[in-house]
């Protein structure tokens, strides 16, 4: 199962490396969001530092929507999904493969976003392990639910408008946890950031399991 999943991941990443949509279009959009936040918050560095953790995850979510749509587009254009299913790869493997592919792309975008945010907002990190652990878990929650919701919203002719309506509320608890953990890691809030990792783990595991169990049902009709 994991071998097949890795094949799907490699396929998605190879397409991205060749088309460079993520690097050429989605990554600049990520940076643009951060700059706009700077303008919107009056370029007050202290305010930007305080709100930085939240802005980071809101930017990630907005970027994730584009990355999810791109991930679905790869399969729906030219009916590629039919060929993928005819290849004998199980829907669960396709789901895991696409989730890992999306996960890697989001992690790359988050690293870029993080560096730019630290520089532009002049932020200092107090705990790198907490940043890394919370980013790993939150990105898993985003990519596992995103892969599932991407296919739910596809093929209906209203994907661009329907996907955010379905996807964003589901991730509200993950964003609360991730923002608190990041806030602690940046020394901006007094809560215990490590305590949030338990909740983030539960969210990531639950969404991954629901995705693995239900993805096949939806894929049949795509």
């Amino acid at each position: 199962m994991f071998r097949d999943a890795w094949l799907v991941t490699k396929k998605d990443l190879l397409i991205e490396i060749r088309s460079r949509i993520v690097i050429n279009q989605i990554a600049p959009y990520t940076l643009l969001i951060l700059v706009l936040f700077g303008f919107a918050l009056d370029a007050d560095t202290e305010t930007l530092r305080d709100t930085g953790p939240g802005l980071f995850w809101v930017s990630t979510l907005l970027v994730a929507i584009l990355a999810i749509q791109r991930s679905v587009d790869i399969e729906t254009s030219d009916s590629a999904i039919d060929r993928l299913m005819l290849s004998g790869i199980s829907p669960t493997s396709i789901y895991i493969g696409k989730t890992i592919g999306l996960y890697i792309q989001l992690i790359i975008l988050e690293v870029m976003l993080f560096i730019v945010m630290v520089v532009l907002f002049d932020m200092s990190v107090e705990s790198y392990p907490l940043i890394i652990a919370s980013a790993i878990l939150t990105t898993l929650a985003i990519s596992s639910s995103g892969t599932l919701y991407g296919v739910i919203a596809s093929g209906l002719g209203v994907r661009e408008t329907l996907l955010p309506v379905l996807f964003l509320p589901v991730l509200a608890p993950a964003i609360i946890g991730a923002t608190r953990a990041f806030g602690d890691a940046f020394g901006r809030v007094s809560s215990d950031g490590w305590a949030w990792l338990g909740l983030l783990s539960v969210i990531a595991i639950v969404y991954t399991l629901v995705g693995m169990l239900t993805y096949g049902n939806i894929l049949e009709d795509t």
């Binding site: 608890p173 305590a195 009709d221």
Partner: protein, 258 residues
Amino acid sequence: MQSTEKQEFTTSRGTRFMGISLLIGIPTLLIFAFLLSPADDNMDDAVRLIYVHVPMAIFAYVAIITTGIGSVFFLWKKSRWWDTVAHASAEIGLILCGLVLITGSIWGRPTWNTWWEWGDVRLVTTLVLFLMILGYLALRQVPANPEMRAKRASVVGIIAAVNIPIINRSVEWWENNTLHQKSSLTDGKLENLTLFTLFLGFIVVGISYLWLMTHRFRVGWMTTEIETAGIAELIEERLNEGNSTVVNSQPQQKDGTK
């Protein structure tokens, strides 16, 4: 509810009974809430909102859990009955969530001196659930094959139900406190008439939920039947068109060969 397959109306003896019970129950609740029950020492007259606010909140959760259960059974049994239950319950859940948010805000203004408080676990949880159910119903309204739509909505319904404890925990830890008072019911603070009025509220809101659920289920069932019949009719029409084209073209071919 299963016997509604050939039914043309949404009314039955059961719904009439529930409707009449509500006609008696709602005025009785209003009389108890506004005239007979006393004002609270701390909350004053604002306590009267609790008689509808708390039962509606509980039944909003019941409605969303019912949607989750219906969605699981639909994916498992492939039964349209369960799908219609999930859909009907989600609509009522949305209305209840909306009313909980409105009554909560009205109650919050004199009690907390604010219309909205981000630090309150239950209000924020209800708001996130409200948005999730909005998404579920938005998906339900998309013009598409009913079965395909039902499958996708089921997954969204399951995630919404699974999310109830997750959202609640996350919001509770988020602020690590809540303005909401602890449950007066479990604390045993409510007594006599206040407690009776609250239970009456539970009964009235519970019957309202069942009454709306039954009617909405039957409307949903008939809507799907019409949709399915419409699609079947269109397919038959197309097949007939195809057959008539073949029949018409056959003599021409014969003529051509002569």
